[in-house]
Symmetry: C2
Subunit: 352 residues, 2 copies
Amino acid sequence: MKVVHSEAHRAHTYAHEVTGGLPTRAWETVARAEAIRAALEAVGHDLRAPADHDAAAITAVHDPAMLRYLETAWSDWRANGLDRATIVPDTLPLAGYRAGMGAATEPASPCGRIGYWCFDTMTPIVEGTYPAARGAVDVALSTASLVMDGASAAYGLCRPPGHHAARAMFGGYCYFNNAAIAAQWLVERSGARIGVLDVDIHHGNGTQQIFYDRPDVAYASLHADPMRMYPYFSGHADERGAGAGLDATFNQPLPAGADDTTYLRALERALDWLLDRTDGPLVVSLGLDTYRDDPIGDFALTTPLYRVCGARTAGTRRPLVILQEGGYDVATLGENVREWLAGVEEVGSVEE
Amino acid sequence: MKVVHSEAHRAHTYAHEVTGGLPTRAWETVARAEAIRAALEAVGHDLRAPADHDAAAITAVHDPAMLRYLETAWSDWRANGLDRATIVPDTLPLAGYRAGMGAATEPASPCGRIGYWCFDTMTPIVEGTYPAARGAVDVALSTASLVMDGASAAYGLCRPPGHHAARAMFGGYCYFNNAAIAAQWLVERSGARIGVLDVDIHHGNGTQQIFYDRPDVAYASLHADPMRMYPYFSGHADERGAGAGLDATFNQPLPAGADDTTYLRALERALDWLLDRTDGPLVVSLGLDTYRDDPIGDFALTTPLYRVCGARTAGTRRPLVILQEGGYDVATLGENVREWLAGVEEVGSVEE
């Protein structure tokens, strides 16, 4: 399979993330992407660098002011004499902050700006963050281009991931929403209704928010119930879209310990739902943090299931733009991605 | 002057706060309140403990679900096996999180719950937080009672402070909004229009939010421009109230380095504005973080000015419910409060 991969992610690295106010182990690491790359190279996938893309595809789904913030955050931080190694928010305008008072204004203070845009303390900005995030978007768009050019499936090794980034907010290790940018790009070029299948264990709140009121991109997600797991504030089964987008969002929250059988049934429901509502390529937000040994997940999936999941998804006979999201057990991450793609190719070879 | 003070605050203590994702010195300390108490005792003020009050006065301005959260947060944390010494949020539903998607639901996870309610990382919850916060409300209400019973002024040594706590959100070292609870209590009992004068260096976003659409409580604040300083997301001059509360909010953001002359002029404008719009007691949110040596402020006020400020405020001839908010230079905090109250008494003695 054609695999798109950028070196830009390597400069996006930091010593720790912040959980509950404490420095904790950083899970979203350079090693993750390198493990996947090595595993895919080893079995002969066709790796390539992405083309550069300008910002228009980003501002098609994100607030241009958020792009400007991410572009300038690090230089602004340093220009203001701030010497912390990472930019992490400490003060954030919750909905209750401005209840009845209208929208907040972006402050000038770099310490205030980060809280205006970023919803958690686990998504630090360092000098290499913006080029890495742009690189991940390039990967997503080049992967989508391969599919528009006729590939039945292509894989983009996006890092940082994207599905937690909303129109005017980022977080969850994500800066730009790679999958949403690719889906929007596909809508514009194909004229088709595009589906996004999100199989990361965490609800893709950003993708959902971006397309919540739109009928032309259908979003289906299976994930840990947000009552117990990050990102906590979206992903309930009764979130089904709004306005023209009503019934174009489909959430399946799953219990702790969800196993292969439970998961496969949920995946099949999601695929059926997507087939009913779309007629173009599917974008897959591929998270492997559903794996039983994932350090921040709580599902019980096994490696063989990923091959089945890839095959079932390819069984839709829709072109697949497969983009990397989470997955934090570095020891098995490459193998699990490889198996998912092997499942896709298995179906492809039957067809071709 | 009659001074109300509770011992309950002593159990609200923690090793550090979290700023920009790093553990930093805790400014809102037990020593602050004890320094004020010692300074006021030393000059013969009449100290007393507050009466206990039930929760009805709290839920008159706060979401009952927030009261329940604060009451149960610590036991819920421990019951879930979490062993961190403080509860600090890491994931928060910014307005952008749910844009177009309706309000968020409070999650069940204790790690999610804290982010649902608390808007910053500097306001930790420990075992003693809830009793201390209830104690501070008792102090505020007992101080208001003294004024309703005929005192021309009384001082409540509230700790934790309150003015950053909104109807359904807390933060900024604040849990319950002592001043707003007192103002609401005074509205209900006096039938008068009540003014709140907020002289803390930080904008009292919580008090503003609680009364933003109401004509019966007028809120006037002088503070550091939120473009450069905490709490960042409110306190602009064009925030003037809404609906029936239009023109019942008055914000005067001031520049860094604001000196005695600049400050006194702003105070006089605020007092004139309040006199025009109210006919009952004034609640004073008394912060001394405007002092030139305050470690987190950037104004240049001197100790003698606080006496002048107290005298000008008392010069309104309105009964004064003076409640402690911020002020973090512990070495001068007691003296500066003492001088403010001396200014009040100076005017009182001329009158009586």
